[in-house]
């Protein structure tokens, strides 16, 4: 708005060239960010044979919904993976929110003397860590979590970053409200559930979305801890499909015969990727503002 006003009042060459370069540059960047998505969408509704002959194009040469048809004709494994992902996302997000909110609340209580020590104990884990291998051995050998869905839930349920973000959100709640509730005889737990939680909706939404996104997109922990096919979450199932296809293709080119299993078609890969990512893309327009808010509050400090 302000740029438009100035443009009318005092049109000068500098502002015009700024706008020209600005709009073209940002259009280009925006296009580059979006093209891969477009490419996958187009490929998923293209005809397989045309793609094998002509390659991926930015416009479907021959339109076909065969890939989606074949996904939904044999939807068993995909539905199972959907169930796994929805289960760990729901459980992990709720559990993570509860624990993060409780910690955030305790760390904002000025009369809680151990506040700084506990903060440091949590913060220290971002400075120094034992690394992947000790965690793996702990999870598999000593906690016996191989092929358990807890192995997908627990590693991402708490993060120092989320805890401090929650604390920053809660700091803005006036302590007079807490005092008033306590004078009315509310205990610490009541203050938390009746005063703090209802006033932290924005923070809970933001952190809940960060948690949910993280669980939905996780393939890494499944690659470490899950070997049973019926426990694969969505992203790991997609990853297995892509890497197996690549492996079989290389083997076929090297002249090896690996059984009668057919390669997943190119269009099938693309359609599966979209079905797996679908909920994120659908929710994106509605939840984006919470992420922006989270990034802004998180970037202030900590």
């Amino acid at each position: 708005m302000k740029a438009g006003m100035i443009g009318q009042v005092r049109p000068d060459k500098g502002t015009a060239s700024f706008k020209l370069i600005g709009y073209s540059f940002m259009s280009l960047v925006t296009l580059i960010c979006f093209i891969p998505f477009w490419l996958i969408i187009v490929a998923s509704i293209s005809d397989e044979k045309t793609i094998l002959v002509e390659g991926f194009k930015l416009w479907p040469q021959v339109f076909s919904l065969d890939a989606y048809r074949s996904i939904f004709s044999d939807a068993g494994p995909l539905m199972k993976a959907y169930a796994v992902t929805m289960f760990i996302t729901a459980l992990g997000t709720l559990l993570g929110l509860l624990l993060t909110a409780m910690t955030g609340y305790v760390l904002t209580r000025q009369d809680f003397k151990a506040r700084n020590k506990v903060s440091f104990m949590i913060y220290f884990t971002t400075l120094f860590s034992g690394g992947v291998i000790p965690s793996y051995i702990l999870m598999v050998k000593y906690l016996d979590l191989k092929n358990s869905l807890w192995a997908l839930v627990l590693p991402c349920v708490l993060s120092p970053w989320n805890i401090f973000l929650m604390r920053n959100f809660m700091k803005s709640i006036p302590s007079s409200l807490v005092e008033a509730a306590r004078i009315d005889g509310a205990g610490d737990w009541q203050v938390f559930t009746r005063v703090i939680l209802p006033l932290s909706k924005a923070g809970l939404a933001t952190i809940g979305l960060f948690l949910a996104l993280n669980y939905w997109n996780d393939w890494y922990h499944a690659s470490l801890y899950i070997t049973k096919e019926e426990l694969y979450p969505l992203q790991y199932m997609l990853y297995r499909m892509l890497s197996n296809a690549e492996y079989m293709k290389q083997a076929a080119e090297a002249g090896l015969f690996l059984g009668t299993e057919t390669l997943p078609s190119e269009t099938l890969k693309m359609a599966t990727a979209l079905v797996v990512t679908g909920p994120i893309l659908l929710a994106y327009p509605f939840v984006q503002k919470y992420f922006v808010k989270g990034v802004m509050i998180g970037s202030v400090k900590g």
């Binding site: 740029a3 438009g4 443009g7 005092r10 000068d12 060239s17 706008k19 600005g22 709009y23 940002m26 960047v29 960010c33 979006f34 891969p36 998505f37 490419l39 996958i40 490929a43 002509e54 390659g55 991926f56 624990l99 409780m102 609340y105 305790v106 209580r109 009369d111 104990m121 913060y123 400075l127 120094f128 860590s129 034992g130 690394g131 992947v132 291998i133 965690s135 051995i137 702990l138 000593y142 349920v157 708490l158 610490d188 737990w189 938390f192 997109n217 393939w219 690659s223 470490l224 992203q235 997609l238 990853y239 693309m270 990727a273 990512t277 994120i280 992420f291 922006v292 802004m296 900590g302």
Partner: protein, 307 residues
């Protein structure tokens, strides 16, 4: 004695608060502090059946092998150079995008642009790997399809180690652009608008305002973010590298970082001792780096330091 009783009375006074904290404390002790003892593994020839306590102790053998074989140098070089490129290219692109998004008048354009730039942040790295496959594979990737249709020779990216540093940096910048530009946008929106007003009255063009006002005011944030990112220069973007390159040994010379090496030594080579040694190096020196960076920032401005 007195300290003990005061702690005890503190616990009693805030028993509910301590109870609320308890699961979180247990969580960090089990999943963060307990694995720290795993540093020990770097000094053993780990055998899964013998476990943590009984595997034979070998001193610094794992480290010696990593250094003498040259693997270590390669991992360190790749990790540091990639991160340096990510930090510089990433922050620069984020500042440029934030500048334009902040100052282009058309709200609809800015909103759409910002939404689409933020989109890559939300997708899994598996999908990022598929994107790169759809763009770069030799049989039907978009780039090779286009090259062929223009009558040019095809280019097999997956056989060319030298192409990947550019691809990997570009993809990382692409994925982090939305997030980072929101950070810079939030900084820019906090600037005093009156300064711009008076600059405009004095006849400053947009370019002059950017150069003389916005950039100098963004500079401290830029330096701070770069500094803190430099503190984690030994931490690799495992998912990015693994999904783009995977276990393609042809490309390792230019694409293998500490994190991918550790992961492979756990899942492919089963060489726990060696992987742990690389991991310990990363943790110890990474921690030291953060402390150094923080001390430098602290000397410069106490309020900006992390702790």
């Amino acid at each position: 004695m007195r300290k003990g009783t005061s702690l005890l009375s503190g616990v009693r006074k805030h028993s509910v608060l301590w109870l609320m904290l308890l699961p979180v404390l247990i969580y960090f002790i089990i999943f963060s502090y307990l694995p720290m003892c795993g540093i020990w593994l770097a000094f053993t020839r780990f055998d899964f059946r013998l476990g943590f306590f009984k595997s034979p102790f070998v001193g610094f053998d794992n480290f010696r092998y990593l250094f003498e074989s040259g693997i270590f140098f390669r991992l360190l070089r790749n990790t540091v150079l990639y991160n340096a490129a990510f930090i510089l290219c990433g922050n620069m692109m984020q500042v440029i995008c934030a500048l334009f998004l902040n100052d282009l008048g058309n709200r609809r354009f800015v909103k759409t642009s910002q939404s689409l730039i933020f989109l890559p942040y939300f997708i899994s790295y598996v999908l990022v790997g598929l994107f790169s496959y759809a763009l770069f594979n030799v049989d039907n990737g978009l780039i090779n399809t286009t090259l062929r249709s223009l009558g040019l020779e095809e280019y097999n990216f997956y056989l060319e180690p030298n192409a990947w540093p550019f691809i990997i940096v570009a993809v990382q910048v692409w994925k982090g652009l939305g997030y980072g530009s929101v950070v810079y946008l939030s900084v820019m929106s906090s600037f005093d608008q009156e300064i711009y007003e008076s600059a405009r009255i004095d006849g400053a063009t947009k370019w002059q305002q950017v150069r003389k006002l916005t950039l100098p005011m963004v500079k401290p944030t830029f330096m701070l973010l770069v500094m803190f990112n430099l503190g984690s220069i030994l931490k690799g973007q495992f998912q990015l590298f693994y999904q783009l390159v995977g276990n393609n040994g042809l490309l390792f010379n230019t694409t293998d970082i500490i994190d991918t090496y550790v992961y492979r030594s756990l899942t492919v080579n089963f060489d726990i001792g060696m992987g742990s040694a690389a991991g310990v190096f990363q943790s110890v020196f990474g921690c030291a780096l953060v402390l150094i960076v923080n001390a430098l920032v602290r000397r410069h401005d106490k309020d900006l330091a992390l702790f």
